[in-house]
Amino acid sequence: MKIRAIDRKGAEHVLEGRDGWSVMEILRDAGLPVAAECGGACACATCHVYVEDGWYGKLPPRSDAEIDMLDMALAVEPNSRLSCQITCKDELDGIKVTIAPE
């Protein structure tokens, strides 16, 4: 599966997702600037992304823990997600995410 990631300068990066990895791990592995301070524990809100082009609705809903943690994120929009909580799988092939400002 492919992930289309927009960085903070607006450049698009097409990344190869790995089954079972989180989108945060793919972004971080590609050297994109997601701080992911807590390492994927849904405890810091520094892997915040906007899920674009209708992909938001195709994701499993936010868990209560993620909803809580998004309260600590900046510039939250209706399509905000924590990328450590999105798991790569074939159905998400082509998903587009924009890294939120820091």
Partner: protein, 341 residues
């Protein structure tokens, strides 16, 4: 302002800084620790106090808070001094070869060895990504409340949905001329009793709550006059206010360590793997802040690095003494230091 002398000054009181106290203590080296947080533990207690950790050798499961508590118990015999709620702000080499580390609370620590155990850097408030916000910071945009009186009879705007946002809404509402709370949803991660109390104040007309976020600031010379608020449908409106208090928790920024003259690679300090010393003799870096071939950002790696650092620090602090390598299991002198013999 205080000025103290010690063997080792440790920047960062996270798990690795704490364990460094233990390894240094076994070698009779005294340590002072500096941390910007108001309690020891670093990321353990700030980011994931309740989360379980499964990869600490010998502890099949331990929470962040428990590990911090256990480390504090383990280093208790060594009487380290903590300088909390302050940031290491400058480092200077003295003519006698020692180091003078200053903090932003005007404390000075003179030490023979500096250990940077700062993780990713300092925990600092998250700054909303609003153009020009820096011009207002400290004047009408505040990330903490130092004196409540500063907001007396002011129009105050608070943003956020956690405990700080709710606590300050409740505390400032009685003294402010008006208080508006904005959050991106009509729900909060704050303590339920605080949320209930806030809703009572809203019902009584004493607090205004809006599902909105701040998009722009308007004013001059750091003096805020109004902000632009927007709802989820991107409808915007102007909201008059004297002060804006964003409460979105903390994030990690490297901070003044960047200006300590150390050879940084992508915000990490390159060290050797025999002593975990930086390119500057006498300055060591252990834990997440360092880098070397094969580095793994694991707590257990940092513990190992602390042990080797301490051996090297001994030779700097006590150049004329022979280091006697001993085991806590069998050494009565170590056991005396630990208070168990």
């Amino acid at each position: 302002m205080s000025s103290v002398e010690t063997d080792v000054a440790i920047v960062g009181a996270g798990p690795i800084g704490l364990f460094a106290v233990f390894e240094l203590g076994l070698l009779d080296l005294k340590a002072h620790l500096i941390d910007i947080l108001d309690r020891p533990g670093g990321q353990l207690t700030e980011l994931y106090p309740e989360k379980p950790i499964y990869d600490i050798p010998g502890l099949p499961i331990v929470t962040g808070q428990e590990l911090a508590d256990r480390l504090m118990e383990q280093i208790k015999p060594f009487g380290a001094t903590f300088h909390l709620s302050q940031m290491a702000s400058s480092l200077e080499k003295l003519p006698d070869g020692r180091w003078k580390l200053a903090t932003d609370a005007d404390n000075e620590i003179t030490a023979k060895v500096i250990v940077i155990a700062a993780g990713g850097g300092s925990f600092v408030p998250k700054r909303p990504p609003i153009a020009g916000i820096d011009a207002y910071e400290g004047k009408s945009v505040h990330y903490a409340v130092r004196k409540m009186d500063a907001f007396k009879d002011k129009h105050v705007l608070i943003a956020g949905g956690g405990d700080s946002a709710l606590d300050w809404t409740l505390n400032l509402a009685p003294i402010a001329k008006s208080l508006t709370l904005v959050h991106h949803r009509d729900g909060f991660r704050a303590a339920q009793h605080s949320v209930n109390r806030m809703r009572e104040l809203v019902d009584a007309g004493k607090v205004k709550f809006q599902v909105a976020s701040v998009k722009a600031l308007h004013g001059a010379d750091g003096r805020l006059e109004a902000v632009t608020l927007a709802d989820a449908d991107k409808k915007e409106w102007r909201h008059e206010t004297d002060a804006f208090l964003p409460f979105f928790g903390l994030t990690i920024k490297l901070g003044p360590i960047a200006e300590f003259g150390l050879n940084l690679h992508e915000n990490l300090i390159a060290v050797d793997t025999a002593k975990f010393e930086s390119a500057t003799p006498g300055i060591f870096a252990i834990g997440d802040i360092n880098t070397y071939p094969g580095k793994l950002k694991l707590i257990l790696s940092g513990f190992h690095e602390a042990a080797l650092m301490a051996q090297a620090a001994f030779h700097i602090c006590k150049p004329n003494e022979k280091l006697r390598f001993q085991y806590t299991t069998s050494s009565s002198s170590l056991q005396k230091k630990l208070g168990v013999a």
